[in-house]
Symmetry: C2
Subunit: 125 residues, 2 copies
């Protein structure tokens, strides 16, 4: 049973108490848009809600989810709360992707070798 791949992935990416992981966080298009918006600047829930056709409360729920995934920094200024992306957390996705990147880069090299070989054979004739 090589279900351990599955098991270890779970364990590696999320402590037992944490229900959500970053992959669930980025599954929703609204949340992806939020992440882009707060990647370079801190924004309040109201400012974010202005960008979408949903209520502030709905945005608040998205923020809560992102927070549970430890994707956010927050700073309280008066009664406003500014949220900003913890950019380093996004590297987790990058790391997961690494195993696939290895494969496609490897295949690209193989294709490259093949083309070089074909070219040299052609030059000889």
């Amino acid at each position: 049973m090589v279900a351990y791949i599955y098991a270890t992935e779970r364990l590696r990416n999320q402590p037992t108490f944490m229900k959500r992981d970053i992959f669930q966080a980025i599954a929703d298009p609204t949340r992806r848009a939020i992440l882009v918006l707060i990647a370079t600047q801190a924004l309040t829930p109201n400012a974010l809600a202005d960008q979408f056709d949903i209520t502030r409360q709905a945005v608040s729920k998205h923020i809560k989810i992102l927070n549970e995934c430890e994707l956010l920094k927050q700073e309280k200024v008066g009664r406003e709360i500014y949220y900003e992306l913890k950019i380093d957390k996004m590297k987790e996705v990058d790391q997961w992707l690494e195993q696939f990147r290895k494969i496609w880069e490897n295949r690209f090299d193989q294709l490259d070798d093949l083309l070089t070989k074909l070219k040299s054979e052609n030059d000889e004739s």
Copy 2:
């Protein structure tokens, strides 16, 4: 209304008829494990189901979802169907990540510059 960021992302990543996108596909841990398993070798639904504590039909539903995202190649051999990952499709996630990678690489460079500056100031004294 800068909700166009949101809108264009949807449009870019998925034709109007397609409900799912790759981000939804990788949101589920079982599906992520399946993708890893079929990244380097084609496998049948039954072979995949052996790796998990769920029924073959459940795996089949995951395969269906991955298929809708155009993540799979399939080859029928007799009554068996072998599924393999279309690795290129994974590049879509990589592309989306690119905008964040730019940010963290930029910040790393800034940190690097700062350290270099501090070091040279130290050398002068």
